[in-house]
């Protein structure tokens, strides 16, 4: 069981690494307007955090369903994820980013893994 969890995490981390590479390739190499640069950096950072948050959320749900979390752990993880989601969306809003802007592009339809 432990080996599977590790294998799964390795796969997911690899997916994240690939996504970072892809985003870095797409990021503008120069930009005249410092505000635009800031916004695109913020967008990249928040999108990556969103990616991680959704990964962690999926894992937490899996463990919750498998019954391998105590009630205290469930509450703690749930709270942490909920707060992280709020923070990310707040920050995004402040920079004029919509939730859709933080979705990783798997294609023009901007869906999540």
């Amino acid at each position: 069981m432990k080996k599977d969890v590790v294998a799964m995490q390795v796969r997911e981390l690899e997916a994240l690494r690939k996504e970072i590479e892809r985003r870095a390739e797409k990021a503008p190499r120069w930009n005249a307007d410092p505000k635009d640069v800031q916004k695109s950096v913020v967008r990249l950072v928040l999108a990556l955090i969103e990616f991680l948050r959704k990964l962690l959320e999926r894992q937490a749900i899996r463990r919750m369903e498998a019954g391998s979390l105590t009630p205290e752990q469930t509450e703690a993880i749930g709270l942490a994820l909920m707060r992280l989601e709020e923070t990310v969306h707040d920050l995004a809003r402040r920079f004029g980013l919509k939730p859709e802007d933080l979705n990783l592009d798997l294609g023009p339809l901007g869906r999540l893994i």
Binding site: E100, L106, G107, P108, L109, G110, R111
Partner: protein, 67 residues
């Protein structure tokens, strides 16, 4: 017509069967790099499409789902 306008026009005039087709061929399937056709559309087809699907489904409430 710009690509965006074209995409919007397609969705605006799509009947329920075309919407279902759009949702399947644009949303899923083996995905590989190469948004040559869709990349220029620039329209977030997901949200438009799903809203349109919902309206179509509601209109069809009394008709048996057919394909």
């Amino acid at each position: 017509m710009s690509a965006e306008k074209r995409a919007e026009a397609i969705l605006e005039h799509a009947d329920a069967s075309l919407l279902e087709i759009i949702d399947h061929v644009l949303n899923k399937g083996v995905m590989i790099q190469g948004e040559v056709i869709l990349g220029v559309a620039g329209v977030d087809l997901v949200y438009l499409r799903l809203n349109a699907l919902l309206c179509a489904a509601d209109k069809l409430l009394d008709a048996p789902g057919k394909k």
